[in-house]
């Protein structure tokens, strides 16, 4: 059976060159980078090289501004709790948006329970944050604004530079979750002006289980876990050495091959146009200001999980914001925040392209999906078949 993977926002395969680079670090270069002997030192040097590559990938000024973590989730948590811990005497107000990843949103909400105040900036129907609202929300005791660079579900890219402009006037730190943007659009911490930024290796053809938090030099942050002196005590624990090495390589490659996303965007547009030809299908997210690989549509009268299972039977791997797939009782908080009804959000389909997605893959989708939609709609009590 043909298998078409269109869930690159969930995770990506490891690039062959990345794996190649990692391999010696399992059986041969296995030393603990904290050790002072040769076995350790030779590894410590390679970790530093990987740190430099990641730093360069996001145009950080100093490699020491990169702190490796176990993934995007941990980096988000570290940014939020770490800044809150460092600045809690300065203020206890944090601003985020309604469409953040749960790694940000739930972390912020847990601080709220501990006595912090939280303001969530709303979004418009395209998923763009309300900058005017943000401007009015900043207070004297605001210590952090955390707004994602682009949304993982609907692909809308946020105006982070504008966020930074608003924040800088009041001397407030800005963190952005760039997990979905790095490797897909330029991510440049100087250009963006953010103080903290999250990235994750497995979204850029690197290994799962490693991510990084960029912390601009001079930014006040405290570690949130305890142990050895690794990552300058901000993130203790024996380093995931092969993971970090792979991350360095993946960061370098994804920046070097950023050109490929142009073709991705062309295929994305073809897929969007094709899907919109189906009756009662609507695009979610901004039409142009969107990740080059992201397609997200709502297909009325049918439910996401049933759609995914049907696609899966035809070899197409996709994702949905349906409640039935989320384990929670409500469909995607992102789609609801954008004003979709429960039912419409329920019937959402996300197809995310990768660097190896072909025209053939897209054509296959455009052949299969209308057929499946038709079949499921015939079963639906909401729509006369």
């Amino acid at each position: 059976m043909k298998r078409v993977y269109l869930d690159h926002a969930a995770t990506t395969p490891v690039h062959p060159q990345v794996l190649e680079k990692m391999l010696p670090f399992f059986k041969e270069l296995y030393g603990n980078p904290s050790s002072i002997h040769q076995f350790g030192r030779e590894v410590a040097i390679e970790i530093d090289k990987a740190r430099e590559k990641v730093a360069k990938g996001i145009n950080a000024q100093f490699p020491e501004e990169i702190f490796f973590t176990s993934g995007g989730t941990e980096a988000d948590n570290l940014a939020i709790f770490g800044v809150a811990k460092a600045l809690k005497d300065k203020g206890k107000h944090i601003i985020t948006s309604v469409i953040e990843h749960h790694a940000v949103l739930d972390a912020c909400e847990s601080l709220e329970k501990e006595g912090f105040e939280l303001t969530k900036v709303p979004v418009d129907c395209d998923g763009l944050i309300d900058l005017e609202f943000l401007k009015s929300a900043v207070r004297d005791d605001t210590i952090l604004i955390t707004i994602m660079h682009a949304n993982n579900e609907v692909g809308t890219i946020q105006p982070i530079k504008e966020v930074v402009k608003i924040a800088k006037e009041k001397g407030v730190y800005v963190h952005t979750d760039a997990v979905q943007t790095f490797g897909n659009i330029p991510v440049d911490v100087q250009e963006l002006g953010v103080d903290l930024l999250t990235i994750s290796a497995h979204k850029i053809y690197g290994p799962k289980g490693v991510g990084a938090l960029y912390v601009r030099k001079g930014t006040k942050i405290k570690g949130i876990s305890y142990g050895g002196g690794q990552e300058r005590k901000i993130r203790p624990g024996t380093e995931n050495v092969p993971g970090i090495i792979g991350f360095g390589e993946a960061a370098q490659i994804c920046v070097e091959t950023l050109e490929k996303t142009k073709e991705m965007a062309r295929l994305r547009d073809k897929l969007i146009d094709g899907l919109l030809k189906i009756e009662d299908v609507k695009l979610n997210g901004h039409r142009t200001n969107r990740l080059p690989g992201n397609v997200n549509v709502s297909i009325e009268y049918i439910e996401g999980e049933a759609l995914l299972l049907s696609l899966d039977m035809e070899g197409i791997a996709a994702s949905s914001g349906s409640a039935c797939t989320s384990g929670s009782l409500d469909p995607s908080h992102v789609l609801l925040a954008m004003g979709l009804s429960h039912q419409t959000a329920h019937g959402s389909l996300r197809l995310t392209l990768g660097k190896d997605t072909t025209e053939e893959d897209i054509d296959y989708c455009l052949e299969v999906i209308p057929r499946i939609v038709d079949r499921l709609r015939k079963m639906s009590p909401l729509k006369k078949g």
């Binding site: 049933a306 299972l309 469909p331 429960h342 039912q343 009590p381």
Partner: protein
Amino acid sequence: MYTEKVMDHFRNPRNVGEIENADGVGEVGNAKCGDIMKIYLKVENGIIQDIKFQTFGCGAAIATSSAVTEMAKGKTLDEALKLTNKMVAEELGGLPPAKMHCSNLAADALKRAIEDYKKKHNL
């Protein structure tokens, strides 16, 4: 993960559709996830002669709908009323814990359809 039986019912759902001028119709919504199921009955001499369903819901919802219609067909109304959500889930070889609530739709919709029939016929 779904059992092979669930996937079979999902792939080839039995008794999909609508019965025009049905003798009884039952509709339930799943408060938990917003899914909806509708069951149509054709009854003769107290026996379910024909049964059809329409479902807006997940894979488990579709499979349990399909299964319940298969189980009910040919049964007397009273026999059919004894079908429980648990029996439907068992018929399918079980459902993942997170999906047990989906099976509630099926037996409940059937029950409503039978009640609807009884009410219309003053039984």
